[in-house]
Amino acid sequence: MTDNSLAVHRAVVRHGATPLADVADLRIDTGRPLTIVGESGSGKSLLAHALMGTLPPELAVEGSMTIGSTRFDLADRSGRRHLWGRRLAMLPQEPALALDPTMLVRGQVAEGAPGWRPGDVAALRLAHEKLDHLGLAHAGSAYPHTLSGGMAQRVAYAAATIGGARLLIVDEPSKGLDPGSLDRLADLLAAHVADGGLLLTITHDLRLARRLGGDVLVMRDASVVEAGPAERVLTTPSTDYTKRLLAAEPSRWSFPWMANAAAADPTAEPLVAAHGITKSYGDTAVFQDVSLEIRPGERWALTGPSGVGKTTLGNALLRLTSVDRGTVGYGDVTRGRLQKLYQDPALSFPGRVPLERAMRDVMRRHGADEARVRSLLGEVGLPLEILSRRPDQVSGGELQRIAIVRAMLPRPVLIFADEATSRLDLLTQETTMDSLMTEVAGSGCALLLVTHDPDLATAVTDHQVRLGQDRSALLEPAV
């Protein structure tokens, strides 16, 4: 085959006159994967779609790319259709959504086989082999909704690569994946490279970029900030932006509030005391026999792979979910002072009214005046005027900070942050978490953090509950 390299020559994506991505030249060779990192909105995903030919028609593309010895005009979207699956493949974002919910997994993998037609037995066999190879032999006759996120990711990988494409474009594969699944995925991608494939990965996860090695491209505001070998860019960056990006990884955090952790009084009356609680949906247990006490000022993390019931446990502790067995008890000061931050802040505000109107109800109820709101907003780095907008007119990071302000108004004793930053990119995560923890530290309230990111858990909390696949909970007290 001739697909032993990919070259892109000056690819520009525009919406109207605004450039959304502008990349001069890049090249991928066998054995040397390319990873593009950057915050959301930096245009890295658009670049991937521009190469694939799947950009929406409103966006204009210029430039060209060369696969092996064939040159393609990027503006001609349909010109690359015949390559899809055969020479050019894409592993989509959110693999759980990329699988047809009404079809058995086996068929969805098989249909990517070269020359597939309905009722193709050979393709089914091939699909089975492929799945078996990925340790998913049993998943072939399952429906996607029964798969975990990591399994869905591997099924999608099988479906994307069964057609034999050498060039694989991977778009934000780490979204919502726990570290274990991410590792397995990285192994797969590395194997693809080792087999002589070309790999272009789009991610905001620096750990993945490090694992993949090869070359790294850092993008910001539609253009490339820095490029070079991964080992150099990701350890000794030359630009400020990359430096900031690296510093935003939770493992490298250093904030004043991190020192505050020891202040909690281990003998104080618990705010929340759960004894032997068990919860199951239907026949499936979510967690079993968990006991936990949270005292004022303590910072707890609930960690574990995705789908093990971290959120359900958190909700149970806030009595938002009933438990099947066991008890959840509160101390006297707790009533009305347990607050929660949500994974998607947009869903936690009434969607059709301006923020201000929703906020005024909170202020009135909890006797907070405008000055307090203004100062709280100031502390998280937002102007008061931002409240005149509707939730959908504010970015995710800003909205989460407004949610933090809202949660602080009733002077809470415990805040339950449910994957509150998992949808945010590194820099925004850092700012948001800093805002939250500054408030938490300042008010002395306790924190219950649900996250699948162990680094974040370590950086922020001093107690951990790790939920395992076996429905058990492992308590790891103060470090």
Partner: protein, 278 residues
């Protein structure tokens, strides 16, 4: 992510521009029809007054829509029929809407046995054919009274509102936003004002305008099968049905009520918001 956002934004903008125009036209048309229904019966002659010597007279300047087979003024009858259709449909929709809304929200809010009972009642209603309800109620009241028609149509429709409102309220009430409001102890008034009502409003507008269409069409349809109103009351469906026999000799008799019926329904259909046009 970015791409799909742009994608949606672009189409929505294009659509809503077109749809505001359509909605404005629809509203204008409705205002005209409502004016006709209000003013017409006041200034026009008695719709029941016959002039048997002038049956099927063609349109003239004095009688712009001609006369029907009893020599009655088609224009006057049309005005009364339009008024009847509008008023009765509005009453039916209002009743069904209030009933369905209250029941639906209560069902979603309280859940448990309230929800179970409401759902059982609504499922039973769904299984009982609407036609049977209307037929029985109007037979019960005999003599084609307006009340029977109103009650029958309202009873036949409330389930629709109940089901939609219950489902939507269930979603809203189960959303993180309401969960957060509960944690913030903002109380039921806040939840209704800031969460439920803003969310249900456009849905209900759409449902209500569709309900108007359904009611108006149902009334005319009942007129066609001779259930419902009694002569000499002017009703659009009856007028269309009666005029059908004369479609070739006196087309004005058919065209006028058909046009009004069509305009009424089209205008109400046009009032719907763009994103919910089912």
């Amino acid at each position: 992510m970015t791409t799909s956002l742009l994608d949606v934004a672009a189409t929505v903008a294009g659509r809503s521009r077109r749809s505001t125009l359509a909605r404005r036209a629809a509203a204008l048309g409705l205002v005209a029809l409502v004016m006709f229904a209000i003013v017409g019966p006041l200034v026009l002659s008695d719709p029941a007054a016959q002039d048997l010597s002038r049956f099927l007279e063609a349109p003239t300047l004095a009688e712009p829509l001609g006369r029907d087979d009893y020599g009655r003024s088609v224009l006057a009858r049309l005005a009364h029929a339009t008024r009847l259709s509008l008023v009765l449909a509005a009453l039916c929709v209002a009743t069904a809407l209030v009933l369905g809304c209250v029941a639906g929200i209560a069902s979603a809010w309280f859940g448990g046995w309230v929800d179970a009972v409401m759902r059982a009642v609504s499922e039973a209603f769904v299984a009982i054919p609407a036609l049977l309800v209307v037929l029985l109620v109007s037979a019960l009241a005999s003599g084609g009274s307006l009340w029977a028609l109103y009650l029958g149509l309202a009873l036949a429709q409330w389930v629709e509102y109940f089901r939609v409102v219950r489902a939507r309220s269930g979603l809203v009430l189960g959303s993180p936003a309401v969960e957060a409001a509960r944690l913030l102890e903002l109380g039921p008034v806040h939840i209704v004002r800031r969460h439920l009502w803003p969310d249900l409003r456009s849905l209900l507008t759409t449902l209500a305008s569709l309900g108007m269409v359904t009611s108006i069409l149902a009334m005319s349809t009942l007129g066609f099968v001779k259930v419902g109103l009694q002569p000499p009351r002017a009703e659009l469906g009856l007028m269309i049905t009666d005029s059908f026999a004369f479609y070739d000799v006196a087309p004005w008799m058919s065209i006028a009520p058909i046009a009004v019926l069509f305009l009424l329904t089209i205008c109400f259909l046009g009032l719907r918001t763009s994103e919910e046009n089912r």
